[in-house]
């Protein structure tokens, strides 16, 4: 089967982990890693594995556009704006792992079908990828008046960008809980835990449903959704059964990463790259089916 060629801008941890995930994809071919530091670990690893390497950023990539069909951006919100303008004008598909959110929020198990055609898709946040499927699983059964998520991640898995802009996580995730999850109102909380050995990412979803009485259907919908997410994040699990208290339901999750480049406790980073790879893979299948 013909595969679509992938470029990754940003040769840091996220970009490197993504590279390993692309290698396992059935519709994508890792092609080029783009960085700005020739000495960076990510560029070295990409070169060792036989991929093209560009060390002068977007300018270098723009000279080798034939190398890519789909480009992932794992840099920063500010840089992404510039990258996206150039790449979209050149007719490339762009998947945004930064908080820039130029394109629609995309969560593979929830709204990927709506956005295949769009030139730029945004991957929300790690907490969003882990919890919005559950919010949606509830809201497809019963109206959700309010949903709140609490993401607890190991301190070691929260990079300097996340730390310096922690409010961005809150803003973006809350908005996506509403727009993608289907809750009328959303709220997001993030907690960093420095325990050693590092803890697995934990996520809790609290939702206020419009009515009681749909508990069994809600549980079934959540279980179905967990299975779907497990298709690209095998370590995505419920912790115990959903807990009901009147109209309130609380769902407890943990996310163990695949351990590609990040250690397994960094489920928060893994679910971002896994979701992005899933989106690109499905998109590639659609595009190729359309060509035939």
């Amino acid at each position: 089967m013909k595969k679509l060629k992938v470029g990754i801008i940003g040769s840091g941890n996220i970009g490197t982990d993504l590279m390993y995930k692309i290698e396992r994809s059935d519709a994508l071919q890792m092609s080029v890693m783009v960085g700005i530091d020739p000495e960076s670990e990510g560029l070295k690893r990409a070169a060792e594995r036989g991929y093209e390497v560009v060390a002068n950023g977007i300018d270098g990539l723009m000279e080798k556009l034939e190398l890519v069909d789909i480009v992932f951006d794992a840099t920063s919100a500010k840089a992404h704006k510039h990258h996206s303008e150039l790449l979209v004008a050149a007719g490339k598909k762009v998947i945004d792992l930064t908080p820039a959110a130029i394109g629609p929020f995309t969560v593979p198990t929830v709204n990927l079908d709506e956005h295949f055609e769009k030139p730029n898709l945004n991957m929300v946040t790690c907490g969003g990828q882990a919890t919005i499927p559950i919010v949606n699983a509830i809201s497809r059964v019963v109206e959700v008046e309010y949903a709140e998520i609490v993401a607890t991640v190991a301190s070691k898995s929260a990079g300097p960008g996340t730390r310096a802009n922690i409010d961005e996580f809150t803003h973006t995730t809350s908005k996506a809980i509403e727009q993608v999850g289907g809750a009328k109102k959303g709220k997001a909380i993030i907690i960093l835990n420095p325990a050693e050995p590092p803890i697995l990412m934990r996520d809790t979803v609290h939702a206020l449903m419009a009515d009681e009485g749909q508990e069994q259907a809600v549980i079934k919908s959540i279980n179905d959704m967990v299975k779907e997410v497990q298709s690209y994040v095998p370590g995505y699990r419920l912790r115990g059964a959903p807990q009901f208290d009147g109209r309130k339901v609380s769902v407890f999750l943990e996310v163990e990463g695949a351990g590609d480049f990040f250690p397994p406790y960094s489920g928060n980073l893994d679910i971002m790259t896994a979701a992005a790879a899933k989106v690109a893979n499905e998109m590639a299948k659609q595009l190729m089916a359309a060509e035939v």
């Binding site: 609490v150 607890t152 409010d167 907690i191 609290h206």
Partner: protein, 337 residues
């Protein structure tokens, strides 16, 4: 007016929010604020127990919007200033801007003792808005003295004017307080504060240790109304520190009056050291977990103490209230097997 030896900052209307299950009314706040103002307390805090934006299913929904409570407090103050708590990850910069519109004059930006770097933007905003800006290192028992010094230096570099050592679990003993406050006095230029909890009956002893080591901001709550077994009792602290020869600037009778005539009547339960709060202090668990643990223990038919010991073992940090229900459920499941 005599020179004050230090500032006593009253947290009844913020830490007490935990003990009140976040059900403060405007009347409670107005009456308490008036009393604190009259007694000569320069700063007191009003917010949801978990800080601005804390009203949530995770921590408990506020009965009355905290902005209304801040406004009510600011409205009755002649000289006292209203402080707000902001925990990055829970509250956001916009919450602080709203709080300032409602009348807040001080912000205390709180992080877990090892995570100060999430607070840079919030501390900078506090300064920008002209607030007295404080960095608040929570669960200070969980880090070494060197680590606390390192994190305090970060707060200072972001612009914090005061840095607090916060014994959120009521775990610390006086010599540990002395060690931490002294180390900070030596290594940072800002003023140093101490916030205690009474889970091991050490709040007053720790407060005295902090003052003697050079702390110049000291927290207390009226009738000890706060999370867990509550805080250092403000009115008692005034008496103790005056006897030690310090000048608090606070009128003892007036602070006793607001404690006993205003706060005591609306308290939902006495601030005793119960079996659970003792275990919190003993195993180093965040004090606001107390009432959530009681609820979870009841719901799942397990011993509160087992839950708390497990949370201590797991090194849970402030804000992880969801973990209580998770742990309780897994104990219940094990019991059923």
């Amino acid at each position: 007016m005599t020179q004050r030896s230090f500032e006593i900052l009253d947290v009844t209307l913020r830490d007490g929010s935990h003990a009140m299950k976040h059900a403060f009314t405007e009347q409670h706040v107005r009456d308490t604020a008036k009393g604190l103002d009259l007694a000569g307390v320069n700063y007191f805090e009003v917010s949801h127990g978990d800080g601005l934006g804390g009203s949530s299913l995770q921590y408990g929904l506020s009965k009355v919007d905290e902005l209304k409570l801040i406004e009510a407090a600011a409205d009755v103050c002649k000289t006292s200033k209203v402080s707000v708590l902001l925990i990055p990850g829970i509250g956001i910069k916009e919450d602080l801007q709203e709080a300032v519109k409602a009348g807040a004059k001080m912000v205390r930006v709180a992080t877990h003792v090892t995570e100060a770097d999430v607070a840079a933007q919030h501390i900078a905003l506090g300064r920008e808005l002209g607030l007295k800006t404080v960095g608040f290192l929570m669960m200070a028992h969980m880090a070494s003295v060197e680590k606390i010094v390192e994190q305090a230096k970060l707060f200072e570099s972001y612009g914090a004017e005061v840095i607090y050592v916060t014994d959120s679990a009521g775990y610390m003993l006086p010599h540990e307080v002395t060690e931490r406050i002294s180390a900070l006095k030596q290594s940072v230029g800002c003023e140093i504060g101490f916030h205690g909890h009474n889970n091991l009956s050490m709040a007053m002893a720790n407060t005295v240790a902090a003052v003697e080591a050079g702390a110049t901001y000291i927290d207390g709550s009226l009738r000890a109304l706060g999370a867990g077994s509550g805080n250092t009792q403000t009115e008692v602290m005034v008496a103790v520190l005056e006897r030690l020869g310090y000048s608090t600037g606070i009128d003892l009778y007036k602070i006793m009056d607001v404690a006993n005539e205003v706060v005591a009547p609306f308290m939902q339960r006495p601030q005793e050291i119960t079996g659970s709060s003792l275990i919190m202090g003993y195993s180093g668990v965040y004090s606001s977990f107390l009432l959530h643990t009681q609820t979870a223990a009841e719901k799942f038919g397990v011993d509160e103490r087992d839950i708390l010991v497990e949370l201590g073992r797991m090194k849970a940090v402030g804000g992880q209230e969801d973990l209580i229900y998770d742990v309780a459920q897994s104990f219940a499941a094990k019991k059923a097997q």
